[in-house]
């Protein structure tokens, strides 16, 4: 396969009713700039949005995506200086009096925010908050508004909307809150909906549901949508056109198919090349973009991307290039945009899907970690004032796994599935509630405190948020030296310098504090600290999920390189299935405190046997518009059941598509009997009563990586 290129017929959604040019733009933004004091956050952004069109805005954190959108809404803090123009149906929004803006907000142009918990007032009922949006813009009675709120909740797919309208935001799950936010945004039938990272805080299966609701909301209202996200996969599946931002500027704008297939700006090409993809395994190394985004307070005089650009020429440093029309409707801000065929071709990676399952067989090395029947339950208490126990959270409820030396096991699952609890239980190195944990062949229940201290040196950890995992008041030297000092390993200074060089930092950085580093550099410091005691097993808790895409790739490559050089074993916990796919040899999929499927990465991804794994994989968006739009969607219904009250029998049955398709006689088993992990073939097992052998799965459940595209 040569990949998806422009020559191919562009499949996907039928053109939206109002393409650019048809009927004039609904929203037209030109030369929009935002300053916060000395910081120039947005520097001359312009785009237009036709009725019914979806424009994706992508870029890394700090690129000015959200600020530009908030400026259009007039919702920036008052110290922001906004210039330029934004016209809604020709009426100017920038600098308009508050009264006019308020009348337009919510009715002409509305917004869905990123974090639906903090975006809803905690003390009012959800229904009342939606009704408030209805009442602001019309002479509606209180009763009618409440009725409309229930209708809207029903529209966005909240079950039992009448009862749910009386709930408070904290009683909703993340996905339900985001649905309620969407209900609020469409309450007055707006012409433009701005979605600011609408699914970033959500799990993949919930993300898929919410994107579906957004699609529906857009269809119902016919509104134009501005979709701001850092997830290239989400844009690929939903947007008509895409705007790439870097350092507060537009660097590329075009139709999704064009930009993904033929990026003309090296930054866009770099972004596409640095994303780990579900449809590509570890065989294809990620290409990180070097360096870090410039600080908006001190921009270089030339092209802001020039210092990180592999294709830069001296002219790039002279002045910032203006967006240039490369093809009709496709412009890029690069001096070399018109040179044919010089951008790296991301499609070279995208196409190469490895055959299901294969990779080297498991090494016959010693086992470094063995977990059997691990259980962790804790009391669920309610109420801050009248605290009382209302149940037991079965966070981890019988987990078995093992890791051999030099091997990487990826533990994946959605939030609340118990993966982090599992990891913490392992790291405690003490007696567990039930089951057995043994590290380096030692049962942790029988360790003396001296032995435990010694064993801690062999098992180290790297956490998710590198800023939170480094004590802000200590220098990098003190941070990396802390394990050495604790374990009395002699003079720390030379070792610290060597460790810093090993993770790609400068030894001279040792005197600085974590706040002077970028996210990727901080994570490197955390890795250096974890390696200080020369551990055999490193536990990685979401090691790259707090990092920007272009930086992520560098850290992933470093982790792989260190593993190969030092012979480390990794236990990698992550929710990003593509990252796990890239690093892990074996994968364990967790669902509600239990392992749903475990086995060699190629097998689990290539031929998933458990319906949950299948749904999970189908929900991950792929940053390739043609492919993403041709996939068959398996949407799970409803929310993840509470771990305090898991369903009887199989814990997945309430959302299981396979269960729905079963005959009643066969269902009985799912209702009553909890499935154990059953080996299907060599090193691949699934906890499903009706899991088929992978060979059979290929034909019955076409949602595997190979068969993501419908024939």
């Amino acid at each position: 396969m040569t990949g998806v290129t422009g020559e191919r017929p562009l499949a996907g959604r039928a053109p939206a009713p109002g393409r650019p040019g048809a009927g004039g733009p609904v929203l037209e933004v030109s030369d929009l700039s935002v300053r916060f004091g000395e910081v120039h956050a947005v520097r001359g952004v312009g785009y237009s949005l036709a009725a019914g069109e979806v424009l994706g805005v992508v870029g890394e954190s700090g690129a000015g995506k959200s600020v530009a959108a908030l400026a259009v809404m007039g919702l920036l803090p008052r110290r922001a200086r906004v210039t330029g123009s934004a016209r809604l149906h020709g009426a100017e929004l920038i600098g308009a009096p508050e009264k006019r803006l308020a009348a337009l907000r919510g009715s002409g142009i509305s917004m869905v925010f990123q974090d639906p918990l903090s975006a809803m007032t905690p003390v009012y009922r959800v229904g009342d908050q939606i009704a408030e949006a209805v009442r602001v813009h019309g002479e509606v009675t209180r009763r009618a508004a409440a009725e409309r709120a229930v209708e809207l909740l029903d529209l966005v797919g909240i079950p039992d909307p009448r009862r749910r309208a009386r709930a408070f935001p904290h009683e909703f799950s993340g996905g339900m809150r985001q649905r309620a936010m969407i209900a609020m945004a469409v309450a007055n039938d707006p012409d433009v909906i701005i979605c600011d990272e609408p699914t970033t805080a959500l799990d993949v299966t919930v993300q898929a549901q919410v994107m579906e609701v957004l699609r529906k909301a857009q269809r119902e209202t016919g509104a134009a949508v501005l979709l701001i996200t850092h997830d290239l996969g989400v844009v690929a599946g939903f947007a008509d056109r895409v705007l790439v931002m870097y350092a507060g500027r537009e660097v590329e704008l075009g139709t999704v198919h064009e930009v993904y297939a033929r990026p003309r700006m090296p930054y866009t090409a770099g972004l596409l090349a640095s994303v780990p993809r579900l449809d590509a395994g570890a065989e294809l190394p990620l290409v990180p973009i070097g360096g870090r985004p410039p600080s908006p307070a001190e921009l270089p005089p030339g092209c802001p991307f020039e210092p990180r650009c592999a294709l830069s020429i001296p002219e790039c440093r002279a002045a910032e290039p203006a967006p240039l029309e490369v093809f009709p409707g496709h412009r890029a801000a690069c001096l070399r945009a018109r040179e044919p065929g010089r951008a790296p071709r991301p499609e070279a990676r995208g196409a190469a899907v490895p055959l299901a399952g294969d990779g080297p067989p498991r090494p016959a090395t010693p086992v470094v970690l063995e977990v059997q029947g691990l259980v962790k339950h804790y009391a669920l208490t309610r109420g801050a004032l009248l605290r009382r126990r209302v149940g037991t959270v079965r966070a981890v409820d019988g987990v078995d796994l093992d890791i051999r030396e030099g091997e990487t096991l990826g533990l994946v699952g959605e939030s609340g599935c118990g993966k982090t609890t599992t990891l913490m239980q392992i790291l405690e190195l003490t007696r567990v509630q039930a089951g057995r944990v043994s590290v380096m062949g030692r049962d942790t229940a029988t360790l003396t405190s001296r032995e435990r201290l010694a064993l801690r040196g062999r098992v180290q950890v790297v956490f998710q948020d590198p800023l939170a995992s480094l004590d802000p008041r200590m220098t990098v030297h003190d941070i990396v030296a802390e394990p050495l000092v604790t374990h009395r390993r002699g003079d720390a200074a030379p070792r610290v310098r060597r460790l810093l060089r090993m993770v790609g930092l400068d030894a001279a950085d040792a005197a600085r504090h974590p706040r002077h580093f970028s996210g990727g550099q901080r994570q490197r410091v955390a890795i250096a600290r974890a390696l200080a005691l020369e551990p055999r097993l490193v536990v990685l808790d979401e090691p790259v999920s707090a990092l920007d895409v272009s930086v992520q790739a560098g850290v992933i490559n470093l982790l792989e390189d260190l593993r190969d050089r030092l012979g480390l074993s990794y236990l990698l916990v992550a929710h990003d299935l593509a990252v796990v796919r890239h690093i892990a040899d074996r994968v364990a999929v967790m669902h509600l405190g239990r392992i749903a499927e475990i086995g060699r990465a190629g097998r689990v991804y290539g031929a998933p046997a458990h319906p949950y794994t299948q749904a999970l994989l189908a929900a991950v968006p792929i940053p390739d518009p043609a492919r993403e739009r041709r996939r068959r969607r398996v949407l799970l219904e409803g929310d993840v059941p509470s771990p305090a009250d898991p369903p009887s029998g199989c814990r997945f049955r309430t959302r299981c598509p396979k269960f729905k398709a079963l005959a009643d006689a066969l269902r009985a088993r799912c209702l009553t009997e909890e499935p154990e992990v059953r080996p299907l073939e060599d090193d691949h097992g699934a906890a499903c009563h009706y899991a088929e052998k992978p060979g059979v799965v290929q034909s019955t459940a076409p949602t595997t990586a190979r068969n993501l595209e419908e024939p």
Partner: protein
């Protein structure tokens, strides 16, 4: 639920019991009722003093544990013992508690409402003239001890009354004794007496609450949910009042429990300066007269009041914040 309430009540009772017992033990050790008799002229015979002290359970020659048990037994039957000259302790405490509670309640309500409003207004117009003015006033008020403030008010009132030649403010007692013509005149007289003590007590509360509320309000001013409210189409002012103020009231309510203790001290000072016959005045008098049992009774009252205040703040918290309600 019932079990929880029971446990909580039990803990409250335990705390009050231990606090009152500690106060009794301390008072019985540190105070010296015998000196009251020995200072008398003519000095009563030693045996009479001894018998009197023993009868009142105040004899420092009896073992402390014995005195404590006798006292505790009495308290359990609702009898707080007798003063050093033989009166019942409980006699006028109830009336005095009413006087103090009236004063404190007025101070709390006025102080918290005015303080919260001032703080919210200051935060909304951060760095504006009202913010600067209220901040400067709050700093000044917080730097003036209640004793000084009360005396300053008295001095100011006397000066003003002299200047106008009319008794606008009255600075001694709760009401003018012997005034009996008409309800209207009585009320006016009471109001004239009430103004200054209330100000003296409330001013500090207003300053504290306005600072606290200003900070809490600033925290939610840029909150996402305020932005959402504006994105719905609410004007900034409406969004701030309906969403920001309402949410930032929650921490202010929990703060109330912490300020209550200082309010009682403030009431003691205010009563003393303005000659109100409340609990605080009695406290000072009973310590000066080595009145062990009265001191213990007042400390029991104070502990109970603080406990109730914290309970009230918890209940208000639950009313205002759906997240802490048991659901």
């Amino acid at each position: 639920m019932a079990g929880f309430l029971l446990r909580r009540t039990a803990n409250c009772i335990l705390l009050i019991t231990v606090a009152t017992s500690l106060a009794y033990l301390l008072a019985a050790t540190a105070l010296d009722p015998r000196s009251n008799y020995e200072g008398r002229n003519p000095r009563p015979p030693a045996a009479v003093v001894e018998a009197q002290l023993s009868r009142l359970n105040l004899n420092d020659r009896a073992p402390l544990s014995e005195r404590y048990l006798t006292w505790a037994g009495g308290v359990l039957r609702g009898d707080f013992g007798r003063t050093w000259n033989g009166d019942r302790v409980g006699a006028d405490l109830a009336r005095r508690a009413g006087v103090t509670l009236r004063l404190v309640l007025l101070g709390v309500v006025l102080g918290s409402v005015a303080g919260v409003l001032a703080g919210a207004a200051a935060a909304v117009g951060q760095y504006g003239w009202f913010d600067r003015l209220s901040t400067a006033c709050a700093f000044l008020v917080l730097a003036i001890p209640t004793v000084v403030l009360a005396h300053m008010l008295v001095i100011g009132a006397v000066w003003l009354n002299d200047l106008l030649g009319v008794q606008v403010f009255l600075v001694s007692g709760e009401a003018t004794p012997g005034l009996a013509d008409g309800v209207g005149a009585g009320l006016l007289d009471r109001a004239k007496h009430l103004v200054l003590p209330t100000i003296s007590l409330a001013l500090g509360q207003i300053a504290v609450y306005s600072r606290y509320q200003r900070n809490m309000m600033l925290d939610v001013l840029d909150a996402d949910f305020v932005r959402t409210a504006m994105a719905k189409g609410l004007r900034r002012r409406t969004a701030l009042v309906r969403h920001a103020l309402r949410t930032s009231l929650i921490p202010a309510v929990t703060y109330f429990a912490f300020t209550f203790g200082s309010l009682l001290v403030g009431a003691t000072i205010t009563e003393s300066v303005f000659g109100w016959h409340g609990m605080g005045e009695k406290l000072i008098a009973s310590i000066r007269s080595n009145d062990v049992n009265t001191v213990a009774a007042i400390s029991c009252f104070a502990a109970l009041a603080v406990m109730l205040a914290s309970l009230a703040s918890d209940v208000l918290h639950a009313v205002l914040d759906p997240r802490v309600r048991v659901g």
